[in-house]
Amino acid sequence: MALALERTKPAAPPVGPGLFGIRRMNRPRLVIAIILALISLGPLLYMISLSFQSNSDLLGQTVLVPSHPTIQNYVQAWTENSFGHYFLNSIFVSVVTVVITVVLASLAAFAFARYTFPLREVIFYIFLASLAIPNILLIIPQYLLLDRLHLLDSLEGLIFLYVSTNLPFMIFLLRGFFQTIPREYEEAFRMEGAGTLRVLVQLIAPLSLPAIALVSMFTFSQAWDEFPVALTMINSPSHDTIQIGLAEFIGAHTVAWGPFFAASVIATVPVVLVYLLSQRWGRSGVSLGGIR
């Protein structure tokens, strides 16, 4: 099973008349595309709309578009419950997780892609095996482990768990991408006396930026959105991540829907931004493809 990130030539239009024959059915396809986009974005647009509604709009009646738009919800969301603090905690956890995951996964993926060595396949499959095991499944032994390492209730503990969870799939994706980089480049580089580390930093990394952008996006969104592990490992409010902050929001004041949805929008913006950035960056030169 090989799902791989592949290097693609920019802007290769599909050749031939397409999936639906000579009649490409552009008009019905466009209508369906609009419906799909409405279904996908509808609840999120509604969330944004709710975040601008005043309390009188939010209680007891169906209001699609705010009648008296207000930013009061945002002010309240940001200032109460130290939400800004949770936000910074999550930025810290997610960014550090991405950096460590990308570095460790790149090193390992490079070894799997370029070297033959005893036990290569075995080690690779041991990495892949954990894809079959959902991360929340290990929450009990991980809790006891962090406890013993004195990492319970710390952002560092979360980072270790998130890195470990993300590594296998990212190694898998990057290995596939590295395999598509012609060996000749590397040989030329080594001829000039470059060691492995220099090959990685000066040759492979720049060539792989689009793939790294995609891997970073996957890892960032996983770490940013993660809930059950953070819920379990973090006890003190000063170490809460944004998802815990959000969940507590609803418990703390059940009727304050407006501030909650404002907080939800705040919690959604970074991950969407990272996604859009990765799309811009990754556009030329990578596609999630090569399922052979």
């Binding site: 999120l44 390992a108 799997f112 954990s130 009990i140 270790f160 969104s221 493809g289």
Partner: protein, 317 residues
Amino acid sequence: MISSDTLERRPAGVSPGAASRRSVRSRRARKVATPYLLIAPAALVYAAFTIYPIFRQFDISFFDWHIFPGATNSFVGWSNYTAIFHDPVVRTAAFNSILFIVITVPLQMIFGLFAAAILTDRLPGSTFWRMAVYIPVITSYVAVSWVFSYIFSSQGGVMNAIIGLLVGHSVSIDWTAQTWTGNAVIWILTIWKGIGWSFIIFLAALDAVPRQLLEAARIDGASERRVWRHVILPSLRTAITFVLVLLVIGAAQVFTQIYEITKGGPYNSTQTFMTYMYEQAFQNFAFGYAAAMASLLAVLLFGFSWAEIHVLRQNDS
């Protein structure tokens, strides 16, 4: 650690024979060690925080575990496992989990494949449509769980308003407070959030289907149905297996949306295997029992993935 390898650098053209025997050997040793050194940092983190916990979990599952400091844990053999099979809530939870998998996985796949088929060829605004379909995947379950709760709320919920318009009088269904409607909200949310994931995988697979092949089949007079059945679907088989395996694994760990929307209630009726496991561990502090549940599910999922991949391999050869 790895930088030792860069010491190997030498001016181009100097033959290795010029070096002493000893340094040739150590250089070769370094060369042999390089891939292991590259893998070592990732392997260390992974071994400590993923592999070790897998085995540790089996270990815990054989004890009556007390998490309070100083307490002694007594070995109870397989009794945590036998207890699972006599726990009525486990039966409900397992049933709900299986139902959740059976309902959400195929629908995510069908909608994902449908969206991919619509958007694979160029269309005005292609990039936008593709991004729109994917965006729900990256949103957080905590946020969207409550958006859906609100949409399905009995007071001013959009869904009740729509149904009210359709049936002609106002309705006030309290969706999330009842078993089946509560389950339905969770399923709808999960499918909505999951379509984009299978969509990108299927999109990649469909993009790779050679269009000339389709054209040739059509020129030979094959109907659209035959083209799909005999050309397009077979080339999607790996993607379908991949998506199926990972979606089932994902569905088996359904947690956040249930924790947020119904909390497994009313009376445990929307509990799933994972939410019940979590409740046993972190509300009842029955670590041994919960670890046995988790180990059992791990073995099941592992077996399922292995079988699925094995079947795929066999079909390929």
